[in-house]
């Protein structure tokens, strides 16, 4: 067994520097790497480029990094829930690259799997395809989108073992598996870290080969963005 465990978030983020590009898993506030984000805030890492589907809310998730002006550029598909984000974008302080959600996932997956680029129909004929190569396959037009290049991927999983094997829960899975192995270093935080052999190999979502560092996360807030319920009968 090749051991991937590190003791804590401080060790997990060793080598993180200003001006780097990070991938961060999560959809809205669901499945975000809360511990890694807190540590980036604490270290005041600056001029970051973040590849993340969303930008958090004003006081949680990536919103915490935005508030301290640590982010230089965001690559996202939807940024609607964050007023500070909108202010920084409209004032020009923050560079924003809006990318269709499926394209964002595909560009992460391409990086993970060694494809330099992929063709997608999404965004053809819109401003997303400006200055990009396009090509026709069987009467339909596609846009060439290049794989992302990132220094670190910060991923949140439900359970993981010492070998870096991962299991995700519910819709907290989202972009997390696609970002594993898509950056030079993949750092995973888990709610439950278990010894090798405890997870059933049949149930592993992401094998440890895509993971460099794994640690037991703590103090998860797991905030709900839109609490919608129906009354009990």
């Amino acid at each position: 067994m090749i051991r991937k465990t590190v003791n804590n978030v401080q060790e997990a983020l060793e080598g993180v520097e200003d001006s780097m590009t990070f991938m961060l898993g999560g959809f809205g506030l669901c499945g975000i790497p809360e511990n890694a984000i807190s540590e980036l805030v604490k270290r005041n890492i600056k001029d970051i480029t973040c590849i993340s589907n969303n930008a958090g809310v004003d006081d949680f998730g990536l919103g915490l990094l935005l508030k301290k002006n640590q982010i230089k550029k965001m690559v996202s598909s939807y940024v609607g829930e964050n007023a500070e984000f909108e202010r920084q974008m409209l004032s020009g302080e923050l560079e924003v690259e809006l990318t269709p959600q499926g394209t964002l996932a595909a560009k992460c997956l391409a990086a993970q799997q060694g494809f330099p680029a992929i063709y997608t129909p999404a965004g053809y004929g819109t401003e997303v395809s400006l200055n990009k190569e396009t090509r026709k396959f069987e009467d339909k037009m596609y846009v060439l989108e290049e794989a992302y290049k990132a220094d670190f991927a910060f991923v949140k999983a439900w359970k993981g073992d010492e070998a870096g094997n991962l299991i995700f829960k519910g819709t907290a899975r989202n972009f997390n598996p696609n970002m594993c192995g898509a950056a030079k270093v993949t750092v995973v935080e888990v709610e439950e870290l278990v010894p090798a052999g405890e997870l059933d190999p049949n149930q592993i979502h992401i094998p440890g080969i895509f993971v460099q560092r794994i640690f037991q996360g703590k103090d998860y807030e797991k905030r709900i963005e839109q609490r919608t319920v129906r009354p009990k009968k």
């Binding site: 959809f27 506030l29 598909s77 499926g102 129909p121 997303v128 819709t171 919608t228 319920v229």
Partner: protein
Amino acid sequence: MALDKNGIAQRIAKEVKDGYYVNLGIGIPTLVANFVRDDIEVEFQSENGILGMGPFPFEGEEDADLINAGKQTITALPGASFFDSATSFGMIRGKHVDLTILGAMEVAENGDIANWKIPGKMVKGMGGAMDLVASAENIIVAMMHTNKAGKSKLLKKCSLPLTGVGCVTTIVTNLAVLNVTEEGFKLIERAPGVSVEEIEKATEGKLIVEGEIPEMKL
């Protein structure tokens, strides 16, 4: 009388057929789930990673790890599955989802759609809309026929940045059901009590009216 949002959703629900996998957008499309006949089998997909999406949870049973694309807490029905974002859009891009229902700010007579950006005013991002409209073969747009200022949303040409080109097949508004054809918007049904003239007045793009136009049955 023109339909309200629930009326639009109720009419669209009639297009949801037995055995369909359906992706519902945010807003009016979300309401469609409330009107689907309960004697047919349908699975709702939410692009953040679930098939077999169920209703909102009972109070106290919310799970932060179980949300829909609108970031609302939901439940999973028997037979549901979870998956990653690349797989989710693989289902969409690979045309495995049978029907996509989404909202729009503008639709053009050639099927172009704009629903993600108002330059200088609103820039929230396209989310999954560009992927959905670029791949789905059966796209129903749910929207009001005119905007708050009373201007038509069914245009000759979209004025806002496009989400997709030539992709919309059907539009259901508070006034009418229309198909997008090579010649323009073809009027299929009128909302109860709404005249063809009213629909013509509210439609800027080319409207094709052939023969007697029936009233919607809800």
